[in-house]
């Protein structure tokens, strides 16, 4: 069923070279994701590292399979795999990132702009910024003093959040 494109049937032909490059690219993406998961400090930056093998590594490896077996069924399945992975991976990453923000599992020191802070505050996170403050001020505010100083008005925050959900 597969087309004979005249690649080298034996030895190290063009198809083997394409296979080697794309497999090594995908393996490098998997390695980068593992190192990023171990090394990065909080949930949002680990989410950044996690997207590398999910999209780019998978596109490389599926293109590799489609190149080594160029038939209609293989290319259709390859396009379907990339399409559905590109549809589902951002949705799950979005849900994980939103849950990470709401439960306060992020370091607000690493954020340059926190535009979400004036809309919605984390439920019981360690870093509560003033809701009316400027976004650039909210980014570099010291956290330890603020969280102890704002313990007084933290009491009405959970009821407010329960109504919002």
């Amino acid at each position: 069923m597969s087309l004979d494109l005249g690649f080298g049937a034996d030895g190290f032909g063009v198809r083997d070279a394409i296979t080697a490059v794309l497999v090594l690219l995908s393996a490098l993406m998997c390695f980068a994701a593992g190192v990023g998961l171990v090394r990065f400090p909080d949930v949002l930056s680990r989410l950044h590292a996690a997207t590398k093998p999910q999209i780019l590594g998978l596109i490389a490896i599926v293109a590799d399979v489609a190149v080594t077996n160029p038939s209609v069924g293989t290319v259709t399945l390859a396009v379907a795999i990339v399409f559905f992975q590109g549809l589902t991976a951002p949705a799950s990453a979005h849900m994980a990132g939103r849950a990470a923000y709401r439960t306060g599992h992020f370091l607000s020191d690493t954020l340059l702009v926190d535009e979400f802070a004036r809309v919605e505050r984390p439920a019981d996170g360690p870093d509560l910024d003033t809701p009316g403050g400027d976004s650039t001020d909210a980014a570099d505010a010291p956290d330890s003093t603020d969280s102890t100083a704002e313990l007084g008005d933290e009491s009405d925050a959970p009821a407010d959040d329960l109504e919002k959900r």
Binding site: G57, L58, T68, A78, A96, R98, A99
Partner: protein, 87 residues
């Protein structure tokens, strides 16, 4: 070609071990579900690399199933974690 397979297998194994280490060590449940997504993506890449090296397409429907249903676990955990935090 055997050198390429060895290097790719080593890199994928190190990535999978990093994801498993984060699943074991992770301070919150969100770290664990992100690491399990990375582990699923690494398994998909390994299946595809095996197909590309051996030149067959037998496990391509497995990759389609993983791409379709890999969302279910992480979305459900993240959805119910945002309303109640147990970690």
């Amino acid at each position: 070609m055997i050198i390429v397979i060895a290097i790719a297998g080593l890199l994928m194994a190190v990535g999978a071990i990093g994801a498993i280490w984060r699943i074991i060590k992770g301070p919150s449940a969100l770290d664990r579900i992100i690491a399990s997504d990375v582990l699923v993506a690494t398994v998909m890449c390994a299946l595809g690399a095996e197909m590309a090296v051996n030149r067959h397409t037998d496990t391509l429907p497995v990759m389609l199933g993983l791409a379709l249903f890999g969302i279910v676990g992480s979305v459900s955990v993240a959805r119910f974690l945002s309303s109640r935090d147990d970690t």
